[in-house]
Amino acid sequence: MGTIVQIKNVNKKFTIDGETKEILNDINFDVREGEFVSIVGSSGCGKSTLLKMIAGLESTIEGEILINDNAVNGPALECKMAFQEARLLPWRNVYKNIGFGLDKSVPKSERDELIKKYINMVGLNGFENALPKQLSGGMQQRVSIARALISNPNILLLDEPFGALDALTRINMQREILKIWKQENKTMILVTHDIEEAVYLSNKVVILSERPGRIKKILNIDLAYPKIRGSKDFAYYTKEIYKEFFEDSEHEIDYAI
């Protein structure tokens, strides 16, 4: 498996009200083809920004991001994104929202078949005509994921798409995304603050510090799929990641007292 995404010396600054804030600092890591990589960090550490940079949705960056050895310079069509909020078009039904993911060059005859295939894949049969407002949060995310996948991108970027779901739905969605990952052989990059989710889903976890986000550690998860959440090995990896966050905060609490 070759390297599909390379992130080299990437920095990011935002200017808000004339004040320059450093968001990301010296980020370096690679993603191999077919790999499931999670980026974990507390809120505001710039992990979503990093994902948008990979997708070519951020205007200015320092450093370099390469996809298949080509520098990202504007929207990267190899990457499709499932956003934190499902971002469905409220005036379109499920069928048409998923169809929106297809390029207009796809002929009509193929469209219908593709849309049906992906409706099937995310388990929304029978909901073709439902409007977004009639769907639960989990179902909306399924539509969003189907819409991202239908154009058959090499890379699926997941920006905390399960963050707003209840625990049971979240576990279900995690299983589904793994199923799709295996079936479709995609490279997936997930941003999350849910440590268990990161261990459960990924081959590799990139741990970011608080703002400005720096890489604290890159952890390879050497567990066979399907991973068993209650197992000792699983617990070992979650603990490894917890340590990276809570050693720091314990110090902070000491100071506060």
């Binding site: 929207p75 956003f83 971002r87 078009l89 929106f100 207009k104 409007l131 819409r147 154009s151």
Partner: protein
Amino acid sequence: MLSANASKNRILDLLTFSFFPIALILLWFLSTKFGWVKASIIPAPKTVKESLSYLLEKNIFVEDALCSLSRILKGFALGASVGIVLGVLVGMLPVVDNLTKVFIALFRPVPIIALIPLFILWLGIGEESKVMVIALGTFWALLINTIDGIKGVDKKLIELGINLGKSKKEIVKSIVFPAAFPSIYTGIRIGITSSIGFVITAEMIAASAGVGYRIMYARNMAMPGILFVGIIEIGLFGLVVDLLVLKLQKYLFRYR
């Protein structure tokens, strides 16, 4: 029990809803019948009915209504199309936004009624000046609401369009316009309702036909019956238009 309560509520709703119209009509009948008010101030329902029959017989009623209606439609079509086109340009192009900012800030607060004499001076007392008044009123409503609608489109949806590899044209067509449409529709609603007011005002100042002209004529001729026909006609027309526009709104935006 529940359904009994529900039907009870519906009856109560109907009673409270129709209380004022019924009371008003009753009061009208009684006050004119027993001479509580002078007939020259408030004509009896019978007088109004006779005036209506007279206007219908002479075909004046329909002619006036069509005349005012055609002015509304012409003015509305002109004002709305210019307002929407300019609104889209202002909403999407910062250059046009900047170019028009002072113009909008300066002229928008001017009441349209204050411009009627100017329009008459420029365009004469023919159709053009009245159509212009309505067009201008509609123009502002559509311009402001279109700008708001376009500028208010969720940036996250546009980002989605970019991520999906959509062209600028596709983003405008599939995201910006549908997302801005409810706001544009609000403009249409305000525009069409206020058009009724504008056409009557314009006709009262200078015209030789139309509902506004007829009301002014009735006042000059001291014919309160005809005057009342005009007022009730405007009220009913406004009511029907508003109902239709609301019905259409419910249908168009049923996804919300």
